[in-house]
Symmetry: C2
Subunit: 140 residues, 2 copies
Amino acid sequence: MSINSDWIRGFTDGEGCFYVGLNKNKTMIMQIQVLPEFAIAQHSRDVKVLYQIKDFFNCGIVKKNNKEVMCYSVRNLKHLNTIIIPFFEKNELLTSKKFNFIKFRWIVKCMLERKYHLNELGLKKIIAIKKRMNTQKIKK
Amino acid sequence: MSINSDWIRGFTDGEGCFYVGLNKNKTMIMQIQVLPEFAIAQHSRDVKVLYQIKDFFNCGIVKKNNKEVMCYSVRNLKHLNTIIIPFFEKNELLTSKKFNFIKFRWIVKCMLERKYHLNELGLKKIIAIKKRMNTQKIKK
């Protein structure tokens, strides 16, 4: 039995995270770097399943979070916009993570289409939306 | 978009728990009560999805774990044996939880078919297998 769209939908409802990081970065125009990330963390004993997810989406990386935790991560805006977001538009989440996903999608689209992260007003809007997302961290 | 077998398989790989409790109970023949439980815990904001799972399996209860956490729980041995176990035999888990499931199934079958929990040797075997299960707790 293998991975498929509904399994990923269920697994993401359980373990997935749509997260927007805001990092101070003096090299950026607004001195703040906006970092949207889709991530799934697992104990290292289950790293195999993270590679299966990576193969399914054909994007992202599997990285080490700490000694016992591995993480599948997609940060590339183009991949988020053309692979991850369309997938979860088609394969709707059932938990409240879907509301996080909607805000996450808004931020990614505004960065790509309107460069909101590169001007003050846009950045303020992104920060306001980010504050309304669950304060969930990439856990495990 | 609604709940289906693969979503439940994925969600269980993320959030499900096959747990065997061992409680001191002087009214039991061996003074230990063996309590297998299939459980999925969620923040109370997502209690709706637990009721959807309950409706899907048509067994179990949704109960409060604490102020913020709700839990879908199946403890009835007959329901575990005729509904939950056959489901995960047909819909195989992809994470290491499947090994927990296999041990859990062994314990449920031995309780039902051989009454292992009611004699010393059987109980020792159950305790030995339970010790080899992940020490995961019903979390969140």
